[in-house]
Amino acid sequence: MVQESMSARDQILGKIEALEPVNHPGDFKGASKDFDFRASLEVVGARVMTTEELAIEFPGRRRYDKTLDGLSLAEVEVLEIDGEFGVAENGAIWLTEEALPHRVAPFICQHLVIHVKKIVPHMHAAYEELKKPNASFGLFLAGPSKTADIEQSLVIGAHGARSLTVIIHA
């Protein structure tokens, strides 16, 4: 297979001719900054709670260490984790594998609780934060799992978490 794929590689690269040079435009400047993280969270279907409200809503919530495998996490009802930062423009929260019990954890649990201590205005600022060495796996998560594949009717809880609760400590 190595030989086969080598030949396809050479074939493909051989067919690509250099085109007239076009400069990379650099980082995007001029993004709006006037965004409200809370308002965006509401748009993407997340709930914002205080720690007191959280204690009443999810008394059984807990954190998990990295000892459980992915399949065992299927039994988790409420998972509590820390996000690295939130993005005000779209309510997305950056999560990394390092801060998760397992990559699948925020998807497979029934309900998800995320603590956010830092907020950046938009995606350009978000990637500024991500210039440091990369996580092995990371994601922007915005709200609970959703679908509108049946007649465009919005349904929350397709495959991933059925609800997202965000506690803002900023």
Binding site: L19, S145, A158
Partner: protein
Amino acid sequence: MLSHSEASENFIADAERTDWHDETLWFVRAKRDNASKVLPEWEAMREHASQIKDHTLANLGEYLQAFEAKAIANGIHVHWAADAEEHNAIVHKIIAAQGSKTIVKSKSMLTEECHLNDYLASKGIEVVDTDLGERIVQFRNEAPSHIVLPAIHLKKEDVGETFHQHLGTPKGNKDPQFLTEAARQHLRGHFLASEVAITGVNFAVAETGEFVVCTNEGNADMGAHLAKVHIACTGIEKIIPKRADLAVFLRLLARSATGQLITTYSSHFHKPREGQEMHIVLLDNGRTRQLADPKYKNSLKCIRCAACFNTCPVYRRSGGHSYHQPVAGPIGSILAPNIDKKANADLPFASTLCGSCSNVCPVKINIHEQLWFWRQDLMEAGLAPAGKTIGMKLMAITLANPVIYRIGGSLMRRFSSLLNTNLNPWYKQREMPVAPKESFQEWYKNR
């Protein structure tokens, strides 16, 4: 195979459903307008994204090699496939090494392009599509009719009946919430059991060797993070130079596609999980040919948001299946002839050339111009529909010769039903206007 116009005729036979389809997609277009107009920098971002793509395509070879080197250093297996056949063989070999008989797959138009499911089925491997819309059409033995909303041609009654047959939901239950829950339970079983997961790729970053997959349901992640082996399939045009470039693309993608601020999950796969095997397959399948043609090169900038589908007056009123291609709509109509000119010669004509597709495209592809270029190429290659060729030739002779023009005109005025023939589909849904008794020339002489 029915041509686009023949298949459309079947589609619009149900007028009520056609109206529903038209209005629903227009609603998605309106959501896109709202989500884009709140950003004063929207047009600057489109230009920026377009320039990044121009720059990438101008240096695609270097960026592909940079991506490959980084990905390998990250512990990802990189494969190259010249065509669909080779792509499918690579994927099969990886699955066969695991001995899996059932695998899960999230949305990937590229695997539709390669007919991967059929190929794997012929090798005794069942592919379970895990995107809700794709699972619905898979149950029905249909192809997706829209690249973002695969089951948009169906009503909830249809889905209810399909789930009743395949998942045993109560007959007559058509509640989207209930049906989605049934699919959640059904697919969770597959996620937990599957040892191999296939996903598509939205962006592959040359700088870091990572790739990004966007979903709203979380199905790509549920599959990939539970499986022992993750295979990501991508076209070579999905490369972008830098990680920071993702900012502009992620902002444009969801707002253009569904009017969302961002997709629910934008996952960055950088290295395999501990103990996991991760593969990426880079597919050409005609893309290098498209790249070498200055007229059509820009079509490779596409980020598959489907905004051009939702705005297209022809797509909205003819349905995705009329395009008989995995990628339908205006963008599909300029991609498909590159793969097979003859089989897709009808598609560049499935347009009014109104230009709305180009206006909404987040990476500024000149879609309507390319449709027009394809029409010229297809006419020259003798591949245009026969009726169109004859009609155009007759018209050219008539307009070039004043005598024929005058005789023809007077005949048409007297026997206007002559125009109402199969050679002239324009009149299929239209009434002939009453012809004046004299031509302009006659009137001018007699005044």
